[in-house]
Symmetry: C2
């Protein structure tokens, strides 16, 4: 499958490399066509399946598009990618909207009555937005077995059932066993607000951790 | 130990009964001295260790005081209890500040840059506020073994180390094994914001659930 990745940070790098490794063709997009970090990533994969270009190039290329920019610039980056390149496609929003202006730990740019996932869906109503991977440190995203034999949970939410099934398939290919479908895109709120508990846990308990829900029955 | 409980709802009832069962003297407080629900609770315990009175009676009685009112009325109830009856005492804040005015699921009355726990600590600076038990359904609060042999997590946070140790002791007496100390009272934010994820999980996965953190090392 052809997959577009928006963002050249550690999240985009890690997801892009894994997607290439499991056989996908991946184009990493950034603001400029000759972004050094994107080129370095392409070289790092040593694979003809990796390429790079602008946000619009990556979105146009992808049958599935991953937003791996930070939440505060997600809408701007997606506008540069272009609605016409996103319409009808699965758009996986991995972002958290973090505000570091008040120091550590960060607060959220939006919470409680809205979320970045919902903002993205509203801004691109023809895209099939699925929020996922935003509750997991990058060490675990593509390597869930690294912790507790993979016995911990990841969430998906979004309005399009078929889109969520495609995302679940990718997550299973990454090794995820416990995938919880929370429902529609408004559930982005809960997974984004969880960040505030998660960051404190990382600060006190160590970076490599994830929640697992014990359930009765 | 003498313990005061503020609030006559299911949370106050459940915690009060358990505290009586494990040997404490418990006074349940409400707005009026002759609250029917509080009297019914006293009768239900069939124990001379249970009593009831006003918020001020319960706070004055308690060496430890539990706020089991809802977050939206917590400050008002605590003002009726009286700062002079709370000063220097451990005040366990169990509340979540839920706003049902927009329907289900609720939003929070405060989030992101503040929390009910912090509001309570600011309003009663001489009380030793410990936030706890607000991430657990009432079925599990005093009965953690009911789920996954008790292998799930509960949080405490607060500014006073000695106060947190007293609360941890009570939690261990309830049967809790995995008690995570998040740090100071600002960590109430994370545990209160987690509610938004938790309520969605309860709506999709069933009521009897709780998170357990898998950690590396």
């Amino acid at each position: 499958m052809q997959i577009g990745i928006l963002g050249t940070g550690i999240v985009g790098n890690t997801l892009g490399t894994k997607l290439v490794e499991i056989g996908h063709d991946v184009k990493m997009g950034s603001r400029s066509a000759d972004n050094k970090k994107a080129k370095d990533w392409v070289n790092s994969t040593k694979s003809p399946k990796a390429s790079q270009g602008t946000f619009a190039d990556a979105a146009s290329f992808g049958e599935i598009v991953l937003n791996c920019t930070s939440g505060g610039v997600a809408i701007e980056a997606l506008k540069m990618a272009g609605a016409q390149n996103l319409n009808g496609k699965v758009l996986i929003d991995v972002s958290n909207g973090l505000d570091f202006s008040k120091g550590m730990p960060p607060t959220l740019l939006t919470s409680n009555t809205d979320s970045i996932g919902e903002q993205v869906q509203r801004a691109f109503p023809e895209a099939k937005v699925v929020k996922s991977l935003n509750t997991i440190g990058v060490e675990l995203m593509v390597n869930p077995q690294r912790l507790a034999n993979g016995d911990h949970d990841i969430f998906v939410c979004g309005n399009d059932e078929g889109a969520k099934e495609q995302v679940k398939k990718i997550l299973r290919d990454f090794g995820w066993k416990n995938i919880i479908d929370l429902g529609d895109i408004t559930n982005s709120r809960g997974t984004e607000m969880y960040f505030i508990l998660w960051i404190r846990l990382m600060m006190t308990q160590g970076r490599i951790l994830n929640l697992h829900f014990q359930r009765q029955g």
